[in-house]
């Protein structure tokens, strides 16, 4: 889900592609730019109902009639006088490029404020189209806008759209075409920009006040019923979802419910997949022996690559394919910013801020995306704190591992109702623990290396919107499946090969793998783990998904040949190799608290621009994890 932005940016930048015109989408945050972008380009950039979802430019192309257009989706921007990192991107682009047509997307419900940004853009670029998005919602709220009058006042064509329902998009396309080809002329209404220089940061207040006055005047002429009509539904829902008594419990219940559905729902497809893969494996063996494939390759391909690959797919895919669509629905509804609002007090006491909870939520998807998402935090110190602690949220590659261990060791692997509730409860507690660790670490960082001045929290809470449930589920399911499968092929398969080779190439009287695990064994036992687990975490550096398959393969190569198509069998494999409840607890701790994966490390390097902070981000969780494991193992051994 969160990965789409960067993916879209990568796949579609093809410099050699034919483009006749350059257009850009600009607007306040959360006005539906990405939805318009998707509609124009046919790409599937991720969308969601919260400020700061898009933090990088996404590019795509669009063909309208006979011309080709390159489309740039700029991050949402409140003003040209940027001071958050993602806004700078938008400002630099608009100030430094000749653009054939800027599509200014605005939220019709908040037209007066949005117009202020539109004027700022228009002071820099003349050729533009104003797109009054979310028009259906505005109509419902009793806002009517005189488009012709507005168009005259601004000097650019105006169109109302409802991008989610695809209303007005055809017209928008032909307007863009007309503006680019010069069929429709835009003119500069110079009086609006008198005494305004939006790029001069010293006169920000004057600029803002002049423009705000212009907007008020324009709205008085063009907008009827422009009273403060906040959608009643939003007000009512917020009374419940942010209230003193019900706010936090509802949040926990909601997450508990999602985890519960995930745990219950994932089990069946997991089982089907592993039965299917197992069936295929038996046939592969037969085929390979029929073809007289040498023992070495059979081992490498089936026991190494195939086994790891199918483990990742059958165990990692189902929970993620269920969790993320559900999470996307919440995201679309507009609830996420309320979490930031509810929890800001905690974060502010820890020298951080509520928006960090948004980046943490992204971290559950992928820590690398969470780290990039930290750009929405304005203060550099707080951003650094959020970047360094993001890894405490169990990502995509670790979350299913946690579910598997909880199911095997703490809840019983059968799917009785009571068990599934237990799984959900334990998962919620684990996530709460992650949040607490994040808060404590943030506090420590804020008083030591990232000393920050008391900062502020300014966040727009969007109206609740009815999520497009079906569309979201299908999209998210598809995205997630592709993502997990892609990772499985890219990292799990090579990892499988490497491990198999290590387990089967002998140096002296035992395999390389044995040598390594024996080397780590004393250290591992100190932490309540063993050498195999420690090794697995180290070898899992490129991808955390591979940690459990590495453990399985190591144990199996040590002679305990068990098939592990179900959790029951895996459980007996693990217990046969000395796993106890203590091992499981320590394993979970280590899973949450160790160095980030290689992709995340690279992203941290990119975002902080410093090797030092990248190293710190690796050291902090590892040290905390080791200490906690030491304590846990020793305390539990007393009983």
């Amino acid at each position: 889900m969160f990965v789409r932005n960067s993916v879209a940016a990568k796949i579609s930048v093809n410099e050699n592609e034919r483009t006749d015109f350059k257009i850009a989408l600009a607007g306040n945050p959360n006005v539906g730019k990405s939805t318009v972008f998707n509609a124009l380009t046919g790409l599937k950039q991720h969308t969601g109902n919260w400020t700061g979802k898009t933090v990088e430019c996404a590019r795509g192309t669009s063909k309208i009639f006979d011309k080709y257009f390159s489309v740039t989706d700029l991050p949402g921007t409140y003003s040209m006088l940027s001071f958050s990192k993602e806004e700078e991107v938008a400002k630099d682009y608009l100030a430094g490029n000749e653009i054939d047509c800027v599509v200014i997307v605005i939220d019709s419900n908040v037209i007066e404020r949005n117009l202020s940004f539109a004027l700022q853009v228009l002071s820099l670029q003349t050729k533009a189209v104003l797109c009054l998005n979310l028009s259906d919602e505005a109509e419902k709220n009793g806002i009517c806008i005189d488009k012709d009058e507005l168009s005259l006042n601004l000097g650019i064509p105006v169109i109302s759209t409802c991008a989610t329902k695809k209303r007005g998009l055809k017209e928008l396309k032909s307007l863009i075409y007309d503006v680019c080809t010069g069929k429709t002329k835009c003119f500069r209404v110079s009086r609006l920009y008198e005494n305004v220089d939006v790029l001069n940061s010293d006169s920000h207040r004057e600029n803002a006040e002049i423009l705000s006055q212009h907007c008020k005047d324009i709205c008085a002429k063009c907008v009827c019923n422009n009273k403060n009509i906040i959608n009643e539904r939003t007000k009512k829902l917020d009374k419940i979802l942010t209230s003193k008594i019900t706010g936090i419990p509802i949040m926990l219940l909601l997450f508990g419910f999602i985890f519960w559905i995930t745990a219950v729902g994932a089990n069946y497809p997991s089982e089907w997949l592993s039965i299917f893969f197992d069936f295929l494996k038996t046939n592969l063996y037969t085929l390979f022996s029929y073809l007289n494939v040498p023992q070495f390759f059979t081992g490498l391909i089936i026991d190494g690559i195939y086994t790891t690959l199918t483990w990742v797919v059958s165990v990692m895919l189902p929970p993620m394919a269920i969790f993320f669509p559900l999470f996307s629905i919440i995201e679309d509804s507009g609830y996420l910013p309320r979490i930031a609002f509810n929890l800001d007090k905690f974060f502010s006491n820890c020298g951080a801020q509520g928006k960090q909870s948004l980046t943490m939520a992204m971290g559950i998807g992928c820590n690398a995306c969470g780290v990039t998402g930290c750009r929405i935090i304005e203060s550099p110190q707080e951003r650094l704190i959020a970047v360094l602690t993001n890894n405490f949220m169990p990502c995509n590659g670790r979350f299913p591992t946690l579910i598997a261990i909880i199911m095997m060791f703490f809840a019983g692997s059968t799917l009785a109702f009571v068990n599934s509730i237990k799984v959900a409860l334990i998962l919620v507690s684990v996530i709460v623990l992650c949040v607490i660790i994040t808060l404590i670490t943030s506090k420590l960082l804020s008083v030591t290396v990232a000393k920050s001045e008391p900062s502020s929290f300014v966040l727009e809470l969007p109206p609740y919107r009815k999520p497009q449930i079906f569309k979201t589920i299908v999209r998210s399911l598809f995205d997630r499946t592709l993502f997990v499968l892609g990772r499985a092929v890219a990292v799990a398969a090579p990892a499988g090969a490497v491990i198999w080779l290590m387990a089967n190439i002998k140096v002296g009287d035992s395999s390389i793998l044995m040598h390594c695990t024996q080397f780590f064994d004393p250290f591992g036992h100190l932490l309540g783990l063993d050498g195999v687990i420690v090794m697995a975490f180290i070898l899992g550096f490129p991808a955390n998904e591979t940690v459990i398959p590495i453990i399985i393969m190591s144990y199996m190569s040590a002679g305990t040949l068990v098939d592990y198509t179900s959790y029951d069998q895996l459980f007996s494999l693990l217990t046969a190799n000395g796993w106890t409840t203590t091992t499981a607890v320590c394993m979970m701790i280590m899973c949450i608290m160790h160095f980030p994966c290689s992709t995340t490390c690279l992203t941290i390097k990119k975002e902080t621009g410093s090797l030092k902070w990248t190293a710190v981000s690796m050291i902090i969780p590892t040290v905390i994890g080791i200490i906690l494991c030491l304590l846990t193992a020793n305390i539990l051994s007393l009983f």
Binding site: S79, K235, G247, S456, F457, V458, L461
Partner: protein, 78 residues
């Protein structure tokens, strides 16, 4: 009638117009960008579960601000 309040002690659901925004520079700009400018109407509508931050309605949008920042914004109730 012309009583001066700071935004943090304006009672819930009581509307006021902004007189002066006196926060530090970067925050001030962000607050302006969100439409909180002199003579603009602002209404606190609800507080977060722990009493801070507070959500305000400004120009038909809901904006959350921390109480300590609200202390630096003076308003006149209407």
């Amino acid at each position: 009638m012309n009583e001066k309040y700071t935004l943090d002690n304006l009672p819930l659901n009581k509307s006021a117009v902004v007189n002066n925004v006196n926060c530090k520079e970067s925050l001030k700009n962000r607050i302006y960008d969100l439409g909180i400018l002199n003579n603009v109407k602002i209404t606190p509508v609800y507080k977060s579960p722990f009493g801070d931050p507070t959500a305000f309605i400004v120009k038909n949008a809901i904006i959350a601000l921390r109480n300590k920042d609200c202390k630096n914004i003076t308003v006149t109730p209407i």
